[in-house]
C-alpha cells in the first residue's frame, strides 16, 4: 500500500481490516520501540529506589536472600529502610535471571507493564462499551479501541513510567487488569475471583492500592446491577431483581473475604507496622497542626461563637486542603500542559497527556455522559477514587501516585476522539472530513515527535541530576583504581551512594548479608567508609594508598586540610556537579 493510498483511505474512512490492523500494529510498534530503546541508559541512571532493588536482586540471585539476608519470599523487603513491597523485586529478579543483572533488567518489568497497559486500555474501553451499549457496532468498538490504545501509547505519563523501575507503574497495570477482569466477569464468578487475586497481587506491588482496590471493586461490581436496572428491558421481575441483588452481594462478600485473607501475610510481617509508619510519615493533609492553628486564629478573631466554631472548624480546613490537592490533579494544566514538576515524573515541558488531546478530553466526557451515562459515572468514579491516595500527601500534583488514573482518562480521551471522528464523518463532506482528520492527525504526530525528541535527546541531559547521573561512573572509577584492597573514603554528598558501590563493585551479592548495617544502611563495608563521623576518623588515621570519592570542590578542600597528594584523578561530570575520584599515594 502506498503512503498516498494509506492517507486517502483514512481520509475517506475506509478502514479495511488490513488497514486497521496495519495502523494498530504501527501504534503498537511505536509503543514497543519507544519503551525499549535505550531502556537502561535513558533516563541516565537508576534512582535510589531502582538501585536498591538492583542490589536486592543481585543478592537474591546469588543467595536466594536479599541484601540483609532475609529470604526472597518475604512480603516486605526492608531495602535501605523504606520497606518495599515484594512483587516488583520478584519480577526484576526474574528478568535479571533471564537477561543478567543490569539497569535494563531492573526496568524491564515496568516496560512490560507499560505495553500491557496500552493493550489493556483498549480492551477495557471495548468491554465497557459492549457492557453499556450491547448494540454498538464493531466499527465503533474498533475505533474506540484504536484511539484509546493510541492515547496511552503516546502519553508522556505512560512512556515516562514504562521506562523506570517504579513499583507504582506495575501496580497500576495490575489494578487496571483486575478492573478489566471485573468488567469481564459479569457472568463468570471464577473470573471475579481471579480479578480479586490480581487485586491482591497489585496490593503487594504498590502501597496505595490497598486503599483504592476495595472501593473500585465495590463500585465496579455494583455497575451491572445499575445498568440492568436502567436498561430498556429493565423492569425486572421482583424475584429476579432480588435474586440478582442477593447473588451480587454474596459474590462481593466472597471476593472481599478472599482479598482480606490475601493481605494476612503482609499484615503479619514483623515490619508491617514500621512500613506503614514510614509510608504515612510523608507530609500530608492529615497532619492537622497548621489547620488547628489557623482554625484557632480565625475563631479567636471572630469571637468564638458557635457559628465560628462550625465555619472555621479544623476539619473543614483539612477538607479544604484535600480539595485543593485534588484540584491540582484535576487541572487541565497538569493533565495536558505542564505535568508534574518533578523531573523523575515528567519532562516538565509536557503534560501527562499530549496537549492536542485536551479538546478530545472534554468531548470525551461529553460523549460518555451523553451517550453512556453509566460509563461516564464509572470512569469519573474510577479516576476520582484513584486520586484520593495521591491527594492526601502535600506534594501535589504527583504523577506517580496518581498513575492509577491513566486507564480511565485514556478511555475518556479515546471516547472523545471516536465521537469527534464519527461526528465529523456524519456532518462534514468527505473532503472536509479528510482534511480535518489529517490536520488533527498531523498535529498529534507533531506533538508525539516533539515529546519523543525531547525525551531521547534533551531530557537525559537536563534531568541527569534527578537520576543520580554520574554515580555509576564514579563507583566504577573508584573500583578501577582499587588494586590492593585500598580503603575507599566517600566524602558526604549522597547518603545512599553506598548502593552504587554495592551494585558496581566486584561483589557477587553473597557478601552483602555478612556486612554490618546500621538502620538497614551500609556505612562501612569491605574497606569502604561512608558515614561522616567514620570519615573524620578514617581521614585522621589515613593509611596510604587510599581512594577518596566526592564532589570536586569537597575533595580539593579535604586534600588541602590533610595535605594529601593525588597520584591519579578521575573526574565525572554530571549536569550540575563535578565528581572526582582521587587515588592518594601519600602526603605533600
Amino acid at each position: 500500500m502506498t503512503l498516498y493510498s494509506f492517507f486517502t483511505a483514512i481520509a475517506r474512512s475506509q478502514w479495511s481490516p488490513v488497514l486497521y490492523t496495519a495502523i494498530v500494529l504501527m501504534v503498537i510498534g511505536y509503543t514497543i520501540l519507544s519503551r525499549s530503546y535505550g531502556l537502561g541508559s535513558i533516563p541516565v541512571g537508576l534512582y535510589w529506589d531502582e538501585m536498591a532493588m538492583l542490589v536486592d536482586v543481585k543478592a537474591i540471585l546469588a543467595t536466594g536472600r536479599d541484601m540483609h539476608g532475609q529470604p526472597w519470599w518475604q512480603t516486605l523487603f526492608v531495602s535501605y529502610g523504606d520497606y518495599k513491597l515484594p512483587v516488583y523485586i520478584w519480577l526484576a529478579s526474574m528478568s535479571s535471571a533471564l537477561f543478567g543483572v543490569s539497569e535494563w533488567a531492573i526496568r524491564f518489568p515496568s516496560m512490560i507493564a507499560g505495553l500491557g497497559t496500552v493493550i489493556l486500555s483498549g480492551l477495557s474501553s471495548i468491554t465497557l462499551l459492549k457492557t453499556l451499549a450491547p448494540t454498538s457496532t464493531s466499527s465503533q468498538q474498533r475505533l474506540l479501541f484504536f484511539f484509546t490504545v493510541t492515547v496511552v501509547s503516546v502519553a508522556p505519563w505512560s512512556m515516562m513510567f514504562s521506562r523506570t523501575g517504579f513499583e507504582g507503574h506495575v501496580g497500576q497495570f495490575l489494578l487496571a487488569l483486575s478492573i478489566y477482569m471485573i468488567l469481564m466477569a459479569r457472568h463468570k464468578t471464577w473470573i471475579l475471583i481471579l480479578a480479586t487475586v490480581i487485586g491482591i497481587i497489585s496490593v503487594y506491588t504498590y502501597f496505595s492500592i490497598r486503599f483504592v482496590w476495595p472501593v473500585v471493586f465495590g463500585m465496579m461490581i455494583l455497575m451491572p446491577m445499575i445498568i440492568k436496572q436502567k436498561s430498556s428491558n429493565a423492569k425486572l421481575a421482583y424475584t429476579h431483581k432480588y435474586t440478582m441483588i442477593f447473588t451480587t452481594f454474596a459474590k462481593t462478600i466472597l471476593c472481599y473475604l478472599i482479598f482480606f485473607i490475601g493481605l494476612v501475610p503482609m499484615i503479619s510481617n514483623p515490619y508491617y507496622s514500621a512500613s506503614n509508619q514510614f509510608r504515612l510519615s510523608t507530609h500530608s493533609v492529615l497532619e492537622t497542626h497548621n489547620q488547628v492553628l489557623t482554625a484557632n486564629t480565625y475563631r479567636e478573631i471572630a469571637g468564638n461563637t458557635v457559628a465560628d466554631r462550625i465555619f472555621f472548624h479544623r476539619w473543614l480546613l483539612t477538607l479544604k486542603e484535600l480539595a485543593s490537592n485534588y484540584s491540582d490533579h484535576l487541572s487541565l494544566q497538569t493533565l495536558f500542559i505542564s505535568g508534574d514538576s518533578n523531573l523523575r515524573h515528567g519532562t516538565t515541558l509536557h503534560g501527562l497527556f499530549l496537549a492536542p488531546f485536551l479538546p478530545f478530553f472534554l468531548i470525551g466526557w461529553w460523549y460518555w455522559w451523553k451517550q453512556h451515562k453509566a460509563g461516564g459515572i464509572i470512569l469519573a468514579a474510577w479516576w476520582l477514587i484513584t486520586l484520593l491516595p495521591a491527594s492526601i500527601p502535600e506534594e501535589t500534583p504527583h504523577a506517580l501516585r496518581s498513575l492509577n488514573g491513566i486507564v480511565p482518562l485514556s478511555i475518556v480521551i479515546g471516547g472523545g476522539l471516536t465521537h469527534a471522528y464519527v461526528f465529523a464523518r456524519q456532518h462534514l463532506s468527505q473532503k472536509w472530513h479528510g482534511i480535518t482528520s489529517i490536520a488533527c492527525a498531523s498535529v498529534i504526530v507533531l506533538s508525539v515527535w516533539h515529546y519523543t525528541y525531547t525525551y531521547f535527546v534533551t531530557y537525559p541531559i537536563y534531568s541527569a541530576r534527578d537520576w543520580q547521573g554520574g554515580y555509576k561512573e564514579l563507583a566504577q572509577g573508584a573500583y578501577s583504581f582499587r588494586k590492593n584492597n585500598e580503603k575507599i573514603v566517600i566524602l558526604p554528598f549522597d547518603d545512599r551512594f553506598y548502593l552504587w558501590m554495592m551494585a558496581y563493585g566486584p561483589y557477587s551479592g553473597k557478601e552483602f548479608a555478612t556486612w554490618e548495617s546500621h538502620n538497614f544502611q551500609f556505612h562501612s563495608f569491605d574497606g569502604v567508609v561512608t558515614q561522616s563521623q567514620d570519615i573524620d576518623k578514617a581521614l585522621k588515621d589515613l593509611l596510604y594508598p587510599t581512594i577518596i570519592i566526592g564532589r570536586a570542590d569537597d575533595i580539593t578542600k579535604t586534600a588541602a586540610t590533610y595535605s594529601l597528594k593525588p597520584e591519579y584523578i578521575h573526574s565525572v561530570y554530571s549536569a550540575t556537579a563535578e565528581y572526582q575520584v582521587w587515588y592518594i599515594a601519600g602526603t605533600l
Binding site: T297, Y298, I301, A302, G303, A307, D308, F311, F312, K320, A323, S324, Y326, S327, D328, L330, S331, L332, Q333, F336, I337, S338, L349, A355, W366, H450, Y453, T454, V457, T458, I461, Y462
Partner: protein, 623 residues
C-alpha cells in the same frame, strides 16, 4: 431548543407541577427588590468595614480626581487626561476618575467616596446578570422563568467574587459593568427585528427609535470600557465584533443569500450604521494621537513576553540538544511562550482557584474560600451542560466566546491566576451558575417528584426541596460574610495599607504643634506621599508646581515643603525632626544611634488586632 423541551415547558406551565399556582408576579418583583437592597447593602458595608483602608491606587485615583476638579489637571500637571493617566510610573485608563468626579465634588475626599463608582458598578452587574437571565429565560422559556431574574440577582448579590470587587475602587469592576450592559442592550435591541419588509411595516417609530438608541448606547458603553481598564482594550473590540456577528445571525432569515442579506441590511439600517461608525471613530480618535508607548506601557510591564526566563530556557534547551534545526523549531521561544500562555489560561479554570482558595493575593480574594462557592461548582457544571445542550449555537458561542475572551488577556501576563484581570468573565460565570440552579430545580421536579401522586404533596415537596436547597446554599454566604467582615480586615489589613490614615492624622497633629519642624516618613511600607496628599487634602496647585522641581521616584513626590519621604531613617539629616517608620526600622535606627541622638515617642499606630505596631512616630533630636 428541542421539541420535547417546549412540550415539557407547556406541561410545566399548565400542569400540576407548576409553581405559578401559588405565586404572584408581585412576589417575584418584591423578592427582586429585596435582593438588590441586600446585595447593595452588603457592598456598601464591605466597602466601609470589611476592606479596612484605601489601597495606594485608590488614593491616587481620589487625589487625581480632586486635582482635576480643582484645577482641570491631574496632580502631575497633565490637563484632562483622556487615554491614560499617570499613576506611580504606570499609565492607567482614566474613566474611573471621571465617574468619580461628581462624587468627590459633592462629598470631598473621603474614603467611602472613592469606592462609590465601584459599588455602583457592582449594583449594575447585579441587575445586569438578572437582566441577562430574564432575556434568556424569555428566549428559551426557562423553567420558573419569572423567577429567573431573581435567581440571577441573588447569585450575584451573594457571590464573594462580585462582592469583593464591588467593595473597593477597582476600575476593572466598572469596565465589567460597562461590558455587561453593552451586551444586554444589544441582546435587547435584537428583539426588535428590522430586516424584513413585514417587520418594518409592523414596527412603529418608537420601537425603531428604541432599537437605534440601544445599539448606539451599547457602542458608547463598549468604547467607554476601553477607557476604564487595560484588558478591556482587548476585550471590548473583540466582544463588539462577536456581538455584531451574533446580531447579524439573529436577524438573518434562513435561505436568504448572504450577499443579498448584507446589502439589504445596510440599505435598511443606513442611519444606524453611520451613527455606529461615527461613534467608533470618535471613540477611538484619542488613541490615534496618543503616544503608543503610554497605551502599551502596562502590557510591556506585565506581559510574559518581557520574561527573560522563557528565552533563557529556550536557549538552554537548544544548546543542550546541539542547536539542530529540529531543536530550534521545537524549543523556539514562541513555542515556549505559547505553552506558557496555555498554562496561564488554564490556571484560571482550576477548582482550587475558582472554588477553594482563590487568588493568592489577599487583595483579590478573601483567602478563606474561592471566588465562587463550592456548590456553585455543581451548578456551573449543570449550566455548561444546559448551554451546550439546549441553547442556539450563536448564544453558546457568544457566552463561551466572552468567557474565553475575558480570560485570554490575563493569560498573556505574569502572576496568574489573577482574579482581577479576568473580572470581565464574572458575569458569564454567574449567568451559567444561575442556569444551573434553574435547571437543577427542573431536574428535581422531572426526575424525583415524577413518582409522587397528588398536587398537594408535589407542591409541598417542591416547596420543601427549594427551602432546604436555599438553606444549604445560604450556609456558604453566611460563612463567607462572617469571615469577610470579622476576620479578613484584621488578618489582611496590611495588604490594604491599613495604618496610613491614622499615621497621617498623628503627623498632622504634630505639625500643628511644631509647624517648622521637618517630618521624615519612610517608604518601606509603600507610598506614603500619596496618602499624605490625600489625607491632608493638599492644594493640587502646590503639588503640580512641584512636578518639575521636587525629587520623584516612579512618579511619587519625595519631598513636600517640610515633609521628606525617605527609604530608610539613615537619610535623616535634620538636627531635630519627627521620624516615622515601621517598628523594626525604628528599633534598628534607635539602637544604632543611641550614643548620637535621643528619641521620644510621639505615637504608635497598631494593626486591627491592636498588638502589632504598623507605624511608630518619634521625635528625633541629634546630640
Amino acid at each position: 431548543m428541542e421539541h420535547n423541551d417546549l412540550e415539557y415547558t407547556k406541561h410545566m406551565n399548565k400542569g400540576l407541577f407548576s409553581l405559578y399556582h401559588y405565586r404572584s408576579p408581585q412576589l417575584s418583583i418584591i423578592v427582586c427588590a429585596l435582593t438588590i437592597v441586600i446585595g447593595l447593602g452588603m457592598r456598601i458595608y464591605a466597602s466601609i468595614y470589611a476592606i479596612p483602608a484605601l489601597y495606594w491606587e485608590e488614593v491616587a485615583l481620589g487625589y487625581d480626581t480632586y486635582s482635576l476638579i480643582q484645577t482641570g489637571r491631574d496632580h502631575h500637571n497633565n490637563p484632562w487626561p483622556l487615554v491614560a493617566i499617570e499613576s506611580f510610573g504606570d499609565w492607567k485608563p482614566p474613566a474611573y476618575i471621571y465617574v468619580l468626579a461628581p462624587f468627590v465634588a459633592m462629598w470631598g475626599l473621603q474614603d467611602w467616596v472613592i469606592r462609590i463608582p465601584s459599588v455602583m458598578a457592582g449594583l449594575a452587574i447585579m441587575i445586569g446578570v438578572g437582566e441577562m437571565l430574564a432575556f434568556f429565560s424569555q428566549r428559551y422559556n426557562f423553567p420558573y422563568k419569572k423567577w429567573s431574574r431573581v435567581v440571577g440577582i441573588s447569585i450575584t448579590a451573594l457571590s464573594p467574587w462580585a462582592i469583593h470587587f464591588s467593595s473597593a475602587g477597582w476600575e476593572a469592576n466598572l469596565a465589567t459593568a460597562l461590558l455587561l450592559w453593552a451586551s444586554i442592550l444589544i441582546l435587547r435591541a435584537s428583539q426588535i427585528k428590522t430586516n424584513t419588509q413585514i417587520d418594518k411595516q409592523t414596527l412603529n417609530k418608537s420601537k425603531q427609535l428604541s432599537m437605534y438608541w440601544k445599539v448606539v448606547i451599547a457602542v458608547i458603553l463598549l468604547l467607554t470600557s476601553m477607557y476604564t481598564y487595560h484588558s478591556a482594550r482587548v476585550i471590548a473590540p473583540i466582544l463588539g465584533g462577536i456581538l455584531a456577528l451574533w446580531w447579524l445571525q439573529e436577524q438573518y432569515k434562513h435561505g436568504t443569500p448572504i450577499w443579498e442579506y448584507v446589502t439589504e441590511y445596510i440599505k435598511d439600517n443606513t442611519r444606524l450604521l453611520i451613527t455606529v461608525c461615527i461613534c467608533i471613530l470618535l471613540g477611538l480618535l484619542p488613541f490615534f494621537y496618543t503616544s503608543s508607548q503610554l497605551v502599551s506601557l502596562r502590557f510591556a510591564q506585565t506581559s510574559i513576553f518581557s520574561e527573560i526566563s522563557i528565552i533563557e530556557e529556550s536557549n538552554y534547551l537548544k544548546e543542550i540538544s546541539g542547536n539542530s534545526f529540529i531543536s530550534r523549531l521545537f524549543y523556539h521561544r514562541y513555542v515556549l511562550f505559547a505553552r506558557q500562555i496555555a498554562e496561564n489560561f488554564f490556571s484560571h479554570f482550576t477548582i482550587d482557584f475558582l472554588f477553594i482558595n482563590g487568588d493568592s493575593n489577599p487583595r483579590h480574594s478573601v483567602q478563606y474560600m474561592g471566588h465562587l462557592y463550592v456548590l456553585d461548582g455543581l451548578f456551573l457544571l449543570v449550566g455548561i451542560v444546559v448551554l451546550l445542550n439546549r441553547f442556539y449555537k450563536r448564544d453558546t458561542m457568544l457566552l463561551l466566546g466572552w468567557l474565553m475572551l475575558a480570560i485570554f488577556p490575563a493569560s498573556l501576563t505574569v502572576a496568574t491566576p489573577h482574579a482581577l484581570r479576568i473580572l470581565p468573565s464574572l458575569p458569564i460565570f454567574l449567568i451559567l451558575i444561575s442556569f444551573g440552579v434553574l435547571y437543577s430545580l427542573r431536574y428535581i421536579q422531572e426526575h424525583i417528584l415524577r413518582h409522587i401522586d397528588g398536587f398537594f404533596w408535589k407542591r409541598k415537596i417542591t416547596q420543601f426541596i427549594i427551602a432546604v436547597s436555599i438553606c444549604v446554599y445560604f450556609v456558604q454566604p453566611v460563612a463567607f460574610w462572617r469571615f469577610y467582615t470579622q476576620i479578613y480586615p484584621t488578618l489582611y489589613g496590611s495588604h490594604w495599607q491599613y495604618g496610613y490614615k491614622q499615621m497621617i492624622a498623628l503627623v498632622k497633629a504634630y505639625q500643628k504643634q511644631h509647624p517648622t519642624r521637618p517630618v521624615y516618613i519612610t517608604r518601606e511600607q509603600g507610598r506614603p506621599a500619596m496618602y499624605y496628599l490625600f489625607y491632608t487634602q493638599q492644594n493640587p496647585l502646590l503639588t503640580q508646581s512641584l512636578e518639575s522641581t521636587a525629587r520623584q521616584d516612579m512618579g511619587e513626590i519625595l519631598e513636600l515643603e517640610q515633609i521628606y519621604f525617605i527609604n530608610s531613617l539613615e537619610e535623616v539629616v535634620a538636627q531635630s525632626a519627627l521620624i516615622v517608620s515601621s517598628a523594626t526600622e525604628m528599633e534598628r535606627f534607635t539602637q544604632e544611634k543611641t550614643h548620637m541622638s535621643k528619641t521620644q515617642e510621639v505615637g504608635v499606630v497598631t494593626d486591627l488586632t491592636g498588638n502589632t505596631p504598623v507605624w511608630v512616630l518619634k521625635e528625633y533630636q541629634a546630640l
